[in-house]
């Protein structure tokens, strides 16, 4: 039956190729759109994770609650405040870092974790001062938890590993101060003490506002600067599986007072954008495939009408209805399969072309658009092309197999 199917398809080359083209266009579009969207998403996700990590554990905010104050100082009394109690009891910090460290090192889902202490400080070079967020980390862990090393524009992040008042500055901040790697800057703590730090590297995330207001140093150096030895404000956790973050975070938050936040809930806007993108992407693909499916349906229906006599003679020769069904289905499958395959190649080529366009500005460490070549994109694209053509050829195939030879012969 394959032989006959192909003979019939190739006797109508123009129609066949038009439909092939339609299907491959749908497949190609899906691959291109998905490649660009997912590529961009990977890039955004990566830069988001640099700030937040897969899961971020931080201290709960300790605001003063009125009820607590009543109960503590004035139990069972009616009090009217002139100025009601308000504010924070203390800086937010992790209650039990050692406990977390122990738990995280033994959790099989955790790839690594990095404790952090972030403080606001002022850095100074000569006359110029700059307010920045200084994050103290353990460099060897930080580079495992985030991909910060890739964003270093000079020097190495791992140089912070040994401590001893070294600092990695945001590139814009360094520019604003007019300093280079190897020079010293003054860091002021909240008590007004001035401690010199040596610049060992510059980091650039591609966002000037961020690059102008961040700096990294060794955790112990920051703790000393802040006069809070042993304090950790956050733990950044990297998991083996990025997508399990939500579930794991929920689990952990059950047995701790601390705030456990996965990267998805920390970035609700981003997740909404992803959802919207997915809807648009699937909607476009769906519409194109519907059009392609109608094409397949049309071609096969017309063909069956033109071939009524041939179908009748095949039946009278002894080709059973199922064989006629095969005859039409093979043609649909061929259209879907080869159109899909062609679309895969075209999509791949276009992705490569798009990826090679020089944008003229830097994005994610290069000046090219990031395009995803995730195999699942290609599988979904091919799968839906096949699915659309199977559905579209099934109806004509059924109607062809239901034709009885005698009606056709008598009719002619």
């Amino acid at each position: 039956m394959l032989f006959l199917s192909f003979k019939q398809l190739f006797s109508k080359k123009k129609q066949t190729f038009l439909i092939l083209f339609g299907i491959s266009l749908g497949t190609m579009l899906f691959i291109t759109i998905s490649g660009i969207q997912l590529g961009l998403r990977e890039y955004i996700t990566k830069s988001l994770l640099n700030n937040t990590a897969h899961i971020l554990i931080s201290g709960r905010e300790n605001t003063i609650e009125r009820d607590q104050v009543y109960n503590w100082f004035f139990p069972h009394k009616n009090i009217a405040w002139i100025t009601s109690p308000f504010g924070k009891r203390r800086e937010s910090k992790l209650e039990n870092y050692a406990g977390w460290a122990e738990r995280l090192s033994s959790d099989p889902e955790v790839y690594d974790f990095s404790p952090r202490l972030s403080i606001q400080t002022i850095i100074r070079k000569g006359e110029i001062t700059l307010s920045i967020a200084l994050t103290g980390t353990l460099a060897n862990r930080q580079v495992r938890v985030t991909s910060i090393e890739e964003y270093m524009s000079s020097g190495k992040f791992i140089s912070l590993m040994s401590g001893g008042n070294k600092i990695v500055l945001g590139r814009k901040a360094a520019e604003d101060l007019g300093v280079r790697v190897g020079q010293y800057i003054d860091v002021l703590n909240s008590n007004g003490e001035i401690i010199p730090f040596k610049i060992t590297g510059l980091v650039s995330f591609g966002d000037d506002r961020m690059d102008g207001a961040i700096a990294f140093a060794h955790l112990a150096d920051v703790q000393k600067l802040n006069h809070t030895p042993g304090r950790v404000s956050q733990i950044a956790v990297a998991l083996f599986d990025l997508d399990s973050a939500e579930r794991v975070a929920k689990q952990w938050s059950l047995f701790s007072k601390d705030k456990v936040e996965d990267w998805k809930s920390a970035n609700p806007m981003f997740m909404e954008m992803i959802k919207m993108q997915d809807i648009v992407r699937y909607f476009i693909t769906f519409s194109i495939l519907v059009v392609a499916a109608f094409g397949v349906y049309n071609v096969l229906s017309i063909m069956i009408n033109q071939k009524r006599k041939e179908i009748a003679i095949l039946r009278s020769i002894g080709y059973a209805p199922n064989r006629i069904l095969e005859l039409i289905m093979y043609q649909g499958l061929f259209l879907g399969g080869s159109g899909g395959t062609l679309g895969l190649f075209l999509g791949f080529i276009i992705c490569r072309l798009v990826g090679s366009i020089n944008l003229g500005f830097e994005i994610g460490g290069s000046n090219h658009l990031l395009v995803s070549y995730d195999p699942t994109i290609y599988m979904i694209a091919f799968g839906s092309a096949m699915f659309a053509s199977i559905i579209a050829s099934f109806l004509p195939a059924i109607s062809a197999s239901k034709m009885t030879p005698i009606d056709i012969i008598r009719g002619s």
Partner: protein, 221 residues
């Protein structure tokens, strides 16, 4: 052996009776012609005794098997191996060459290669060897009909049913076709049922059945 008992065929609504209680017996090796005026029901009868159509009532038994009780698959299988059809129109598949058209029946059961030699023999016998690789659109009407006959003969069927096989041909081509049928009947012992309105061709059969208004009659009128 084909035995038809009380074959009735009705069409339309309200039902109009085309065939009235026809009893008919065709023995193995017979060459039977069914003739009558147009509208006499001769083609309808042929299609009923050849498994292509069903009787409204009555039974058709071929080789002792009741056609009404066979499954669709069984009927197609039976047709494939035992029955050859020749129609007024050649019904060749336009995308296939003459040879490929002739080999359609064995292709259905995966025996194409085994029958290739036989196909060339038939082409030779029918004097159309030169058009083996040509498409139906490239050959003449007489040649087309001979290719269709070769397709009907390829499986060496026990039965051949021919519905006006000469209807679209000039007299010389018509004679050729009739002679082929007659030779097949004599040499291979193939049972042949032929529908024609041409009295001359009908007379070439070993037995003539006349149909008048859906009933078997003694004479043409």
């Amino acid at each position: 052996m084909i035995i038809g008992e009380k074959i009735v065929k009705e069409f339309g609504n309200p039902p109009q009776r085309i065939l009235h209680d026809i009893d008919l017996e065709i023995k193995d090796g017979e060459f039977v012609s069914i003739s009558g005026r147009s509208g006499s029901g001769k083609s309808t009868l042929l299609y009923i005794i050849s498994t292509l159509d069903y009787a409204s009532s009555g039974t058709v038994k071929i080789d002792g098997r009741d056609m009404n009780k066979m499954s669709v698959e069984e009927i197609h299988c039976f047709r494939n191996e035992n029955i050859g059809f020749i129609f007024q129109f050649h019904y060749l598949l336009p995308e296939l060459t003459s040879l490929e058209n002739i080999l359609l029946p064995p292709r259905n059961i995966g025996l194409m290669d085994e029958y290739k030699k036989r196909a060339y023999e038939l082409l030779d016998i029918l004097n159309i060897s030169h058009i083996a690789e040509k498409l139906p659109g490239e050959i003449s009407g007489g040649e087309q009909q001979r290719v269709a006959i070769a397709r009907a003969l390829i499986m060496d069927p026990k039965y051949i049913f021919a519905d006006e096989p000469t209807g679209n041909l000039d007299s010389s081509n018509g004679n050729t076709v009739m002679n082929i049928l007659k030779e097949t009947n004599q040499q291979k012992g193939t049972t042949i049922a032929l529908v024609t309105h041409d009295p001359g061709f009908a007379a070439m059969a070993s037995r003539e059945i006349f149909l008048v208004d859906g009933r078997v009659s003694d004479t043409y009128n």
